[in-house]
Symmetry: C2
Subunit: 337 residues, 2 copies
């Protein structure tokens, strides 16, 4: 039935656009009582420095074990704000829909966005919807942007890793990438691997509050995985990072799929993980905070920071060797987020 | 040559992504000296209420007479902030690129974005780039979001049209839609019609400063055109709006193309026009401000507001009749912005 599908006219700005907004998008996404029908949203006044980010989400498939493009598009942007030590406040949502896309699938995705936003404590403040002809996009692309506020003066950024720091992660690596790939390829796995997609802001708020200036870097290892993210930090801070392979938390299922397909879990994307660089005297406290948080029960200390050689990441392997860790060179898993 | 084209790996988050960012995107878009390499941008503190908006741009063709998807994506978001009476400050830019897209075309588009942002006085603060396989998107889609600040307490919104108000527009209607269509269809027109795509914030700032509380509504008639926008305002404010057809500024070339193709210029998109609802005692002043502005030399008073029938728009036609004006019903020109 035509009524079940997105039409080009739903992107016209005219009557069909208003219907789609009034009947589906606004009721599902908006926290307010009614649609403002203005070109932009009026937010409150805030005190503190603003933090601002954006991400496009083009994940394939749009429904995968443990999440959807909807929940992912909220988590990703909330996490980018959280990694700056900011409190995420507002999101914008821009939808690009392919003509013929299922309204029912759209409904599920919007519901997931709202649910993820509510859980993370952020408000979806403004949005836009465009429709392109069949074959000119792949079902749905979502771009979110986010505004947060920095309510403290602690410097938390990729250039702040310091010799002596310990490197922590809040749990297993590679879950998101392998879950998406399993969803895409229809791999028959013994145990289902779920994406770790989650909003990390409640965990980062606890870390900031408890560790203060002993918390030096927060970063979520998404595209490019833990390896690429650590390499970025090593270069930005001009320090050497050494990983202990044996300390890396990896689910057996993820390890198995990676070994079958020749993938290195260090390069596989995560969407609910953070790397924290913490002064050694606070590392134990950081680990405990993570382990007591619902998103951190498999947290671990996985490495440490030294002065030289600056810009380098190495891994002490489980068989006692040392190997260099570089950035992801090509495209390991396209459309992972 | 492969080097001239976007590869899937440019969206990996790994080495190729960093190259694209460092060699092309950051130097062209960023106002700062270097790339911050963090997940989000740290903005300054601001005083005043924040205004927030987003729009996706999927215009086809991406290069059209008078503009590109790049300049359009900046103008559209700047204008959405300006129509709230806000001062636009920061933009985010999210790119979805099709594998195989030309790096040279991308360079032109990024250059246009930066040039439009500089001219409008806004900073591109943060961004993201994704790449999807060939055939899964159409060359390039751009989503911008924008943050502005409200530096006054004048209520300017679609629900504030008041009986007695005069309705002004800053120039000719339909130019953008017809320019894009001409670019798409390769129409051989006697005179080239250029898109009116432009940033309206310097004009709105002058109107706000000079008219104060006599300025009731500002709205840019983009998708759906002047007709749809006026209908929205009539419904939001529960007032009746009457247009004078003879007063509508329309270029002869636009009128000609519309009559050949059976289009009504009232429904054709504009990207550098605003509708202003102004108390009658200030309408003359508003018209003069517009006419003295580079984007308003063909400004005109095109209608007025009455109490009843609420929610209705009518037009006094040039042959002396009256006709109802409704929202755009279907999709007149897909992918106009």
């Amino acid at each position: 039935m035509m009524d079940d599908r997105i039409l080009l006219g739903h992107g016209s700005g005219g009557r069909l656009s208003h219907q789609l907004l009034d009947e589906l998008i606004i009721p599902l996404l908006s926290s307010g009582d009614s649609r403002s029908q203005n070109d932009a949203a009026l937010l409150g006044e805030i005190s503190g420095k603003l933090v601002y980010t954006t991400d496009a989400f083009v994940v394939d498939p749009i429904f995968f074990p443990g999440g959807t493009i909807g929940s992912l598009s909220v988590h990703g942007t909330v996490n980018d704000l959280a990694m700056m030590g900011a409190k995420p406040l507002w999101l914008s949502v821009s939808l690009i829909l392919e003509e013929g896309f299922s309204k029912q699938e759209l409904t599920t995705i919007l519901h997931d966005m709202r649910s993820a936003a509510d859980k993370a404590g952020v408000t979806i403040a403004t949005g836009d919807t465009k429709v392109v002809p069949r074959g000119k996009a792949d079902k749905i692309f979502i771009t979110t942007s986010g505004i947060g506020v920095l309510e403290h003066t602690i410097a938390i950024h990729g250039g702040n890793a310091q010799p002596g720091d310990l490197v922590l992660i809040n749990g297993t690596i590679g879950d998101h990438g392998i879950a998406v790939m399993a969803g895409r390829e229809g791999l028959a796995l013994d145990t289902e691997i779920l994406s770790d997609s989650a909003a990390l802001n409640s965990l980062t708020e606890q870390l900031v509050a408890s560790l203060g200036t002993d918390l030096h870097v927060l970063r979520d290892p998404t595209r490019g995985g833990v390896a690429t993210t650590l390499k970025e930090i090593a270069v930005q801070s001009q320090v050497a990072i050494t990983l202990q392979e044996q300390a890396l938390p990896i689910r057996p299922g993820v390890r198995g799929v990676c070994s079958i397909l020749g993938l290195d879990p260090l390069f596989v994307a995560n969407e609910g993980k953070l790397l924290a660089f913490v002064a050694p005297e606070s590392a134990r406290k950081a680990l405990e905070i993570m382990q007591q948080h619902p998103l951190g029960n498999q947290a671990a200390i996985i490495g440490h920071v030294e002065t030289t050689p600056g810009g380098r990441v190495r891994m002490e392997t489980s068989i006692g060797g040392i190997r260099a860790v570089e950035m992801l060179a090509g495209e390991q898993l396209p459309r992972i987020c």
